[in-house]
Amino acid sequence: MTRRYWWGEIGKDGTCTPAPVDGAAALARLATLETPMESWVPAPWEATAACGGFADRAEYLARLHRLAARLAAAGVADALQRPDIELARMVRALDGLDEAINLLTERAVEWHATRDPGFTRKFSSMPARRLVPLLAVRAKGPLRALLAEIEALAASRAALAKDVTRAANRVLPNCSALVGGLVAARLLAAAGSLDALARLPGSGIQVLGARTALFSHIRSGTPPPKHGLVFQHRRVHNAPPGRRGRVARVLASRLAIAARIDRFRGEADAVFIEVANARIDGVLE
């Protein structure tokens, strides 16, 4: 049997065919090599001499180091430079922006209240996106600058949310058709990658994002969560309380199929979407 090493191949009769040790050809060859371990024969570096080899051990190691580093860098690029990974990171950035905006708004409102004795609690029930511009008009100095920053953050949040929806329609066309781009993207981010999402069973997708409730159920037998992130979809949260669990379960089961179509076919399947939507709406009738 031919024994394959990074520097060459040794045939049955012991003759050695050198392999490319740098450049694209070497990377392509190494990316596909897989040795059955039962028949792996260790090759001390001296064995490379049969292949023309290297001047000395230092050169052997230097060549190997350079080649391995290139190979690993290419592998990292493959794993990270993917649209689904980017989408998951965009969702995380979006969540970060939300957190920052909420926190800063709260602090700015508290600060404003000390300056304006006439400021009443009725403002605190007003949504931040309306409250902040209102305060910005009255405020002065650093507080005004802070409020302006919050408004700028809110603007980039809105732009990012649109981008996320657009990217989700591209990366997750079928999931997006069922629950909308934003929720589909959140599911993807919770699973970690499109691969991971496509491997999840429907029951897993149903409780994605309900980690605390799920583990409390497993540990101490509290009622199991009916829904996680899928609750953010209107057909779940608008359903009457008694039916939400059932809607969430049916929806999640269709999402599991949708995620697999997204992963392995990558394009919208109009027939599937129509049938799935009809099945989900059927629960609500």
């Binding site: 190494l30 792996w40 260790p42 180091h65 391995a68 580093a69 190979l71 690993a72």
Partner: protein, 201 residues
């Protein structure tokens, strides 16, 4: 191992991850590195000069960088792309580190890059740690040494650590290793055992 005033150090250029220096040597902190903790607990433990090492679970390359200060060459296997980026940065300044992006469960994917090694250091957070050690056994020279950092909580959340250690020891024995010692890494690392073994003839 090299000690300076009772502190474990390694010879090499500093500034890999913000480690302290002492007399021109890099301080190797037992609370950050399990291999350093092993050296503190077992004063006999040595990484022989000129050793060829296979390091499974190289992570960001902090421990790997210290091991590389002692060894001739370190084959550093790491599966996760994010830490591999850091490991590549470490390897760019230490040419005796051979970075390998691969799953230690599937040695066939990187066997063609290796040569026989004197020492395997394994530090992976996986449920089947003994199986991984057994699968990588062919890479060891005869009487080669295995240092297995056993993360007990990756195997079972609740069973006592010693019981988990006994199970792994039995599996290693069945897989062609002669276990020499099994110790706890307390106080440096909680719920971790270190198993020293050699390939059985």
């Amino acid at each position: 191992m090299i000690w300076r005033d009772g502190v474990l150090v390694s010879p090499g250029a500093g500034g890999v991850y913000g480690e302290r220096m002492r007399g021109g040597f890099r301080v190797w902190d037992p609370r950050r590195s399990k291999v350093a903790a092993l050296a503190y607990i077992d004063r006999e433990f040595e990484i022989p000069e000129g050793a060829r090492v296979l390091y499974l679970g190289a992570a960001n390359g902090t421990t790997v960088s210290h091991v590389a200060d002692y060894a001739e060459v370190v084959y550093a296997v790491e599966f996760a792309p994010r830490p591999m980026q850091d490991l590549l940065a470490v390897a760019s300044r230490r040419t005796n580190i051979v970075p390998i992006l691969a799953d230690a469960n599937r040695p066939g994917r990187y066997a063609h890059l290796l040569e026989p090694v004197d020492l395997i250091v394994q530090d992976v957070s996986q449920p089947h740690q003994a199986a991984i050690a057994v699968r990588n056994r062919p890479f060891l020279v005869p009487r080669g040494r295995l240092v297995l950092m056993l993360k007990a909580r990756s195997i079972d959340q609740e069973r006592p650590v010693d019981e988990i250690g006994a199970g792994v020891t039995a599996e290693l024995g069945a897989g062609g290793y002669a276990v020499e010692s099994i110790r706890s890494l307390v106080p440096h690392h909680r719920d971790h055992l270190v198993i020293l073994a050699r390939t059985a003839p």
